[in-house]
């Protein structure tokens, strides 16, 4: 039963390696509770659009000097994400990001916000994009 022993040893070694790996994951980005992000797409129909993003502090005061990264993923694995480039802002906390819904279906838009003082936050928004012009839902996570 050489094969059994070899398999046993391999699996035990493998489990140990896995356990070692499991302990070293960096925690997901922590969000600063004092930064609020809102997302309002001009359209949720397939095609080019503009994402209006509002960034405010805990008291509702606009934040104009933030750096934003916006990434849109579809719900299905393997779909190439859409990255927003040329984000304008902020004026009265409003940032505008040219964007394109490349496909109908469910999207997850992640907005990463970094402030010059080192604070940051990451917010996810779930949107349903249609191919026929009908507006769909949007959910914040």
């Amino acid at each position: 039963m050489i094969k059994t022993n070899a398999i046993l040893k391999s699996i035990v070694l493998f489990a140990l390696l896995l356990l070692a790996a499991c302990g070293s994951r960096v925690s997901q980005q922590e969000s600063d509770a004092d930064i609020r992000v809102d997302l309002a797409p001009e359209s949720t129909v397939v095609g080019p659009t503009t994402l209006n993003i509002t960034v405010t502090d805990g008291g509702g005061a606009p934040i104009d000097d933030a750096t934003l990264n916006v990434k849109g993923d579809m719900s299905h694995a393997g779909m190439t994400p859409v990255l927003a480039e040329g984000i304008d802002g902020g004026q009265q906390g409003l940032y505008t990001a040219p964007f394109e819904w490349t496909m109908a279906g469910d999207w997850i838009v992640t907005v990463d916000v970094s402030l010059p003082d080192g604070r940051s936050t990451s917010q996810r928004f779930e949107l349903a994009v249609s191919g026929d012009g009908a507006m769909d839902d949007m959910h914040e996570q």
């Binding site: 094969k3 391999s10 493998f14 993923d73 694995a77 393997g78 469910d106």
Partner: protein
């Protein structure tokens, strides 16, 4: 020694000498016959399975950013269809879920036989449909966490069944991945056979199936000199390693030889309907991604007064994957029998042409999984892996490059998918003609082939129409 259920009756020990035997190829042949070859490959896939579990449970719960969902729903499916097309059932060969089998057999009783009434493909069909229903209902493709749980379920189910029963019942009678691979491998270009049937005639030990002191025999109890089909063959090559005469071959064959040969499969309801359902499920699986299905679901919800998507999908599945294929093929079999003026059981008429669905069915799966999902997304694994490594403070691959994805220009996709489906349709027509020509007693007249040709045409047209529609990706937001 039990002969395979699938191989049916005991055939005379005759196989033509294979023209090309991969096991005799320099280097590769030796590597494949190496005693630990399968274990090494299985350990590699076990590593992948472990990453799937780890990232699925602890990683970002956004499907395109997680190794679990990208690996399983893009790369696994792409690998499977291309492997079946170019070689054979390579996933079952490297399946990590069967690795604990040896442990299961050590700790379990393992000597019990799988119940006789379940020694067919009905359970496999039911589990395949159940799996695809869960896939749609729970939006498995959108959830790394659920994807990881699916992998856990495979390990547990495989372990428990292997511990309780002999004859690898999980692979042969239950596993939906195995069922898919068995059906697809019927048109693969490689098949296990023997180099010299006379050697098998005089062989006393039959180690290929009974095993030897060092190597297990065939887990699914197939006897190489009598194998006429890839069905149930997990391509583990244990038969080749166990054979004391080095007489087992992995031979090249025409991909359409098996499905064109009327004697290759037993004329059983379960086996032949499996292939028909395999074809219709290919269509419904692609249909599940286009806009009309959501409209249909909404209408059914209104009509039936329920918002329960599981119930609606179950009804749709019953209609598209059971009622439609069974009624249409039985109708075609009945009509064909009448037009050929044959007096035979409907089962015989169905079995004459059902294998012709295999090429078209596989082509639809290939266009969908290999074309749409894999070719447009193959490189997404790179940024996902970069991101995964960064999460673990490993910077060797740099920052994720999220622009990576397709490996073909977007404009190629539609023509490529159409070409694949048309090729599958043409291959199915060829198989119909071959099976008509080689029908028992006398060849079937062209008129008797017509119902089958029309049914295949209908399926091919429906597949092309669905594949040309804009695909949608839904799964995270409930309709409402």
């Amino acid at each position: 020694m039990a002969q395979s259920d699938i191989q049916g009756k005991i055939d005379p020990l005759f196989q033509p000498t294979p023209r090309f035997d991969l096991l005799q190829a320099p280097l590769l042949g030796r590597l494949l016959r190496w005693r630990w070859a399968r274990l090494v490959v299985q350990l590699l896939t076990l590593l992948v399975a472990a990453l799937v579990l780890y990232d699925g449970f602890t990683g970002p719960q956004v499907a395109p950013n997680n190794l679990a969902t990208v690996t399983v729903w893009v790369h696994y499916r792409g690998f499977v269809v291309f492997a079946l097309l170019l070689a054979g059932n390579l996933f079952c060969m490297s399946c990590p879920f069967t690795l604990p089998r040896t442990l299961a057999r050590r700790f379990g009783r393992g000597a019990r036989r799988w119940p006789r009434r379940l020694r067919n493909k009905w359970t496999a069909i039911a589990v395949l449909l159940l799996f695809l229903w869960l896939y749609e209902w729970l939006d498995l493709w959108a959830s790394p966490w659920l994807t990881a749980w699916i992998v856990v379920a495979y390990f547990v189910a495989s372990f428990v069944l292997e511990a309780m029963f002999a004859e690898s019942p999980f692979c042969k009678y239950v596993c939906p991945l195995g069922t898919f691979n068995f059906a697809g491998s019927t048109i693969s270009p490689l098949q296990i056979t023997v180099r010299d049937a006379d050697v098998c005639r005089t062989c006393e030990g039959k180690e290929c199936i009974n095993g030897s002191a060092e190597v297990s025999g065939c887990g699914t109890e197939l006897f190489p000199p009598q194998m006429t089909s890839n069905m149930d063959c997990v391509l583990c090559l244990d038969c080749a390693r166990a054979c004391p005469y080095d007489n087992v071959a992995l031979a090249a064959r025409s991909p359409l030889r098996e499905v064109s040969d009327p004697a290759a499969w037993p004329r059983r309801w379960d086996l032949n309907l499996l292939i028909v359902i395999f074809a219709f499920v290919a269509l419904s699986n692609a249909f599940g991604m286009v806009a009309p299905v959501y409209e249909l679901e909404r209408q059914m919800m209104g009509l039936l007064g329920t918002q329960n998507e599981g119930v609606i999908l179950a009804l749709l599945f019953g209609l598209l994957n059971l009622l439609l294929p069974i009624s249409l093929t039985l109708g075609a079999a009945w009509l064909s029998r009448r037009l050929a003026s044959r007096k035979e059981a409907l089962r015989i008429s169905l079995a004459r042409y059902a294998p012709a669905f295999a090429p078209l069915a596989f082509a639809i799966w290939l266009a969908h999984y290999g074309g749409f999902h894999f070719l447009t997304s193959a490189l997404t694994i790179v940024p996902v892996l970069q991101s995964f490594l960064l999460d673990h403070r490993i910077t060797v691959l740099g920052q994720p490059d999220w622009t990576m994805g397709p490996i073909i220009p977007a404009g190629w996709l539609d023509p490529l998918e159409l070409l694949v489906v048309l090729a599958g349709f043409a291959a199915s027509l060829y198989v119909v003609a071959q099976r008509a020509r080689r029908a028992e007693q006398s060849p079937d007249p062209p008129l008797a082939q017509l119902p089958w040709l029309l049914l295949l045409l209908l399926l091919a047209l429906a597949a092309m129409a669905v594949l040309l529609m804009p695909m949608e990706m839904r799964g995270t937001i409930q309709a409402g």
